[in-house]
Symmetry: C2
Subunit: 123 residues, 2 copies
DNA sequence: ACCTATCTACTACATTTGTAGAAATGAAAA
DNA sequence: TTTTCATTTCTACAAATGTAGTAGATAGGT
């Protein structure tokens, strides 16, 4: 399933607060971006057509939506293309990039170290 | 600078074999995808308009192109959006995802471990 | 039962993207 | 020098994307 950036932004919000209505999604989105309610509703409609969300009931006249795909499914699909296009397919430099750029607390670091250790063991 | 997927595919090839002509890019691309020469040339033209590549000379009637932006600049720009949209902004789970999914040899693992160690030290 | 505010459904439109043909051009061959 | 063939330029077009207005329906208040 291929979703656009805006569609993913909406999915992100839905994953975090599902189930919810288009109005609620609009409200959350408005916190980071000026956008009309109908715009958000259009995106939700497209997500429904694509099968990424579905109706899960009503609340007054409002439709309650839930997601039909989960984040990890979509990120699994998107990951290889991203790695290829931005890091020439070199996973090591991609991971290195993120380790260097991102904020990580000691817990995070310990967790990632343990993952690497497992990875090494598994050889 | 915002580039499309296809544009990035071409940039990727250019970065790897620069400087080169549109015909050479077309030839490389053809190895992974059936596409007309003029299609590739159109993409190169658009990249030129966007300022991502520039003419670096001629070879007979062919124009030689070089890149004007580098991979790391573009990946720096693309990274936050990707992380937000596919991992809800959680860098730890993104890095974990890649460590788990990707092939890494012992060297890679050692290198990444040292990066994590540095990161910890820097605190 | 009626009004009204709100929500949905439908339509619209500019821009970007993927895709490629047609026409013009110019370097190289004959 | 004339022809030819690769290249460039220009044009085109459908689909996807971001963006939103309008009209129609309806739940809830009075």
């Amino acid at each position: 399933m291929k979703l656009s950036e805006f569609e993913l932004d909406v999915m992100q919000l839905l994953w975090q607060h599902e189930p919810c209505t288009a109005a609620q999604l609009h409200e959350r989105l408005s916190q980071s971006k000026k956008v009309a309610y109908t715009t958000v509703k259009t995106i939700v409609d497209r997500l429904e057509q694509k099968g990424a969300v579905a109706r899960a009931g009503q609340q007054g006249k409002s439709i309650i939506y839930r997601s039909c795909v989960d984040q990890s499914t979509l990120s699994d699909q998107a990951t290889p293309g991203f790695m290829q296009r931005f890091f020439g397919g070199d996973s090591r430099s991609l991971i290195a990039h993120f380790i260097k750029q991102e904020e990580l607390n000691e817990d995070d670091i310990a967790y990632l170290q343990s993952l690497l250790k497992d990875k090494k063991q598994a050889k």
